[in-house]
Symmetry: C2
Subunit: 187 residues, 2 copies
Amino acid sequence: MKTLITIALGAATVAVLLAQSSDTPQFTGKDELVVPNDYREWIYLSSGLGMTYGPIADASADRSPMFDNVFVAPTAYRAFLSTGKWPEKTMFVLEARSSNSKGSINNAGHYQTDRMGFEIEVKDTARFPGNGWAFFAPQGKTAKMIPRTASCYTCHPANGAVDNTFVQFYPTLLPIAKEKGTLKAQP
Amino acid sequence: MKTLITIALGAATVAVLLAQSSDTPQFTGKDELVVPNDYREWIYLSSGLGMTYGPIADASADRSPMFDNVFVAPTAYRAFLSTGKWPEKTMFVLEARSSNSKGSINNAGHYQTDRMGFEIEVKDTARFPGNGWAFFAPQGKTAKMIPRTASCYTCHPANGAVDNTFVQFYPTLLPIAKEKGTLKAQP
């Protein structure tokens, strides 16, 4: 019986550790955090191909557009399902990948290939001024905060449908935000 | 102490149940299974836009191409990371979504909108003849096996890079299959 209890306690601990690994930001300095390298095991929100916020001319000549994939940490995702809001310590990852058209049996359209980069977005209102969100660029095992002069700090709060995030582009979350009444009025 | 042990046992049980919900096929009949409605919480593998296996002419005039998203059950994913092979009871979901170009602040490229359909792929060599894989189409809460005359039953084994699956289009799994030596020779 004692062995069984030990196994059960061990299993519970392992389960909790697995669930929380990298699920919330681990800061290594004022403006630095550990890169959550397992973000591909987080919850997938959506992808775009060649999404363009600026003038159309920027994209029209692009024959090799990039895919972007968005992932959110599981704990934050579950909170959003319940409330339509992002809790403290929410983490997003935006990943960019090259596209290819011809390969194997595919001969038109686009599929994803190599990762070209990724960025991390974190909500921590006690740590970050303004609306409490900050963006980070990976540099090896840690990620440095992107300077506040970057356009993401003005575009996200101005245009994100929920808080600092583009829920209008996440088709499984948009109905939840509508139901919970957490959508901002859109411009 | 007894209370603590009970809580620990409870937590372990809950964790195991959460991890396994819908993670393996639950058959309701010879050729029917329960639709795994939480597949969006599985592991994301990749997306394509307007991927076309047939003549290019089929796709060239398509101004509203569809996205496809591929998800695999977490237990099968973890086995693949270790072995480069898909274990018995592996489940995949292929989801098709409409695309949109103009919406919110986006004015070029494509982002995902409504789900247009999805299919389930299952490996169970004791149940399915041939190479042990079968495809299912949802009809409400259950999914019916797609007839063996469908093209998926010939195309997947002929062209899938690993077993019955298109690992050549899953950029995080392809290096694992190469490392483990489980890639088929490509035509």
